[in-house]
Amino acid sequence: MIIRFLKGWAIAVLAVGAFFGSAAASAETVLRIGMTASDIPLTAGQPDNGFEGYRFTGYTIYDALINWDLSSADKASDIRPGLATEWSVSENDPTVWTIELRQGVKFHDGSDFDADAVIWNLDKIFDENSPQYAPDQAAQVRGRITSLESYRKVDDDTVEITTKEPDSFFPYQLTYVLYSSPAHWEALGGDWNAFSGKPSGTGPFKAVNLVPRERLELVPNPDYWDQDRIPKTDRIVLMPIPEASARTSALLSGQVDWIEAPAPDAIPRMEAQGFSIVTNPYPHIWSWHLSRVPDSPWNDIRVRKAANLAVDREGMKVLLRDLMEPAKGHVLPSSPWFGQPSFDLHYDPDEAKRLMEEAGYSKDNPLKVTIKISPSGSGQMQPLPMNEFMQETLKEVGFDVAFEVMEWESLLSHWRAGAGDQINKGIDGLNVSYATVDPFSAFVRFMQSSQIPPNGLNWGHFSDPKLDELMTRARATFDETKRNEILAEVHTYAVDEALFVWVAHDVNPRAMSPNVQGFVQAQNWFQDLTPIRME
């Protein structure tokens, strides 16, 4: 070992001169991406690391029955056919969905995708007794496909899925289930760990060369079923770089070509060096989720409204160097679900003070609230400075905000436990940012009383019969236009009731070198890597 090492050192010293500054020229085009995750997201099918995982190891290597349409930067993205060509709900029984599968699709290992593969993959996450049951994959996705009751094969190209109750949101849930190759899993001796090292899906990219914690390489799948989405880059290298300053320095020194979420402060320097910053708002909300358990101070609507009016969102925008969109509600005003709330979220400290005084608080006699926050986390933007900013701006109108700072993973478990749990005693709110891509994840899981923990993520134990009724109705409405109208009513009501302290929508900043061409940043958490060219 030592001898080899010394030898290596000697050779290295000799070689330094020869290699100095010379870069190996190659005809291959390579795009290197620095992700925010601390590790390569899981590659065996269902990724972890939230939506960043879906973005980089999910929708690249795999397809869902229903995919996201990520081709436009100008409009909110919606779903489109993936491995399914058509889906429809039965006229007689609105819980039965018939799904027509795309024909002629092959997995990366050459085996066929068909109804058996669909059933096999659903068993993988739902049937604990099936040999291919993958508990870690099930854990990642089961919470995203909550309506599914049962499934069966109709013929080779058709499957039928039954939901627990009529659920018009169900097609959105199908976008989260990804399909791994059963034949390949068999060939690897039924070992999911081996499968992660050599994944096989149907997606536009094949995964090669996984080095845990360091890199994953993606190469084009020339036989991809959608000829328009055959990747235009020869190789994409994904690297986990969790620290913002490390990502920044990696980009500036040319170690990567693209980074997710650059440190806002470094952006002027990046721009000065010719890097471009790409942004676009997307369905994301950074808020304080308020506790509504019986003794919570937030049960007073004046206090909730005062907090919303006390936040200087424009000031925060300066803090983030423009990398945010001030919130006007739970979803973006461009969303079809925004509606017409009469409560306008803006900075009005005088009105906020007045409301607080009415509720019995002032700067000298402040209302003490304790909020749980984390120093980092997926979608959390810059949680520490942003929360400290909130603390300052709320102080002016009569809030005395204290923070309980904990690691992201702990915060999530406290979030799941709900405000009524012992571990959240004395806690008045928490700061977890949310994806509002589909109606269920945008509204139902937080606002419907049936979702109070342990059943769901209604952390604050919020319960309002009017909202419950509206959301149940939306879920049972299969006509899109009508459904959107009901959802707009939901949102209008939620904003007028000031259910959250809404602060900012992220704009999903990424920085890239001028060599990266052809990227279209969709208004989504997910992005399409296939059209990118390196020049």
Binding site: A266, G315, V318, L319, L384, E388, F389, E392, F403, E407
Partner: protein
Amino acid sequence: MAEPTGATALGTPADDTVPRRTSPRGYWTNVAKRLRRDKLTLFFALLLALVFLSAIFAPWLAPADPYATSMLKRLTPIGTPGYPLGADELGRDMLTRLLYGGRLSLLMGILPVVNATVAGCILGLIAGFFGGRVNMAIMRAMDVFYAFPSVLLAIAIAGALGAGVVNTIVSLTVVFIPPITRITESVTTRIRKQDFVEAARATGAGNLSLIRVHVLGNVLAPVLIYASSLVSISIILAAGLSFLGLGATPPEPEWGLMLNTLRDAIFVSPWVAVVPGVMIFITSMSFNMLSDGLRHAMDVRM
């Protein structure tokens, strides 16, 4: 081994730790005399006193509110009028936060050593004085803790307990107990075996009074000197834990945490980001010099 492997190494304190001393009063007069002549040590003692005073009197000295943010002033460079040391990522005055930061940083650095000295002395005295199985049990347990590199042990405990000032103090205390126990034990054992102690015991002196009269006085000097050399390590480690996000929590001013949060700003305002580290450096350096000076003055060989 003639000198301790010293800072950050927590090296095994070696065997000949008994100070050679004659009459107590003459000894301490000598120590004071030697210290007065040691200009370098005096200089660092003065520096340290300044650091302490500035932390204690931070509310009177600081030009601004340590928590007051200003979006317009964020990452102001060093030397801007009104912001002699610049402003941090939230526009808070760096000078103010440095002064206030000393409070937590010094507390988190010194308290573990104090705790460990008390606990280690007690354990060492018990082990040394009673010998036999008691000694065996205590000292073998200490050996186990010695099997961890100190940084690793501190981070492992703090990492398991989670972030927080108290957790940091607990984890560092655990790290420092074994070496202090070892010193105390070795001195105590040696003294216990000396003739005059045996003689005192024969005249019927109780255990407690034996410890108080004969042992404690001899143990104190080497332990204090060793402990003073630990403070420097402790300051660095405590700030290091905060730097990893395992110590103090925002928005408290603390030097290690300030380094951590300013790291993202090194591309914008690099020299502001460096400032908190200078304070850690000065403090730890002063403690090291002071400890060295004390050792020479007290003529303790370890």
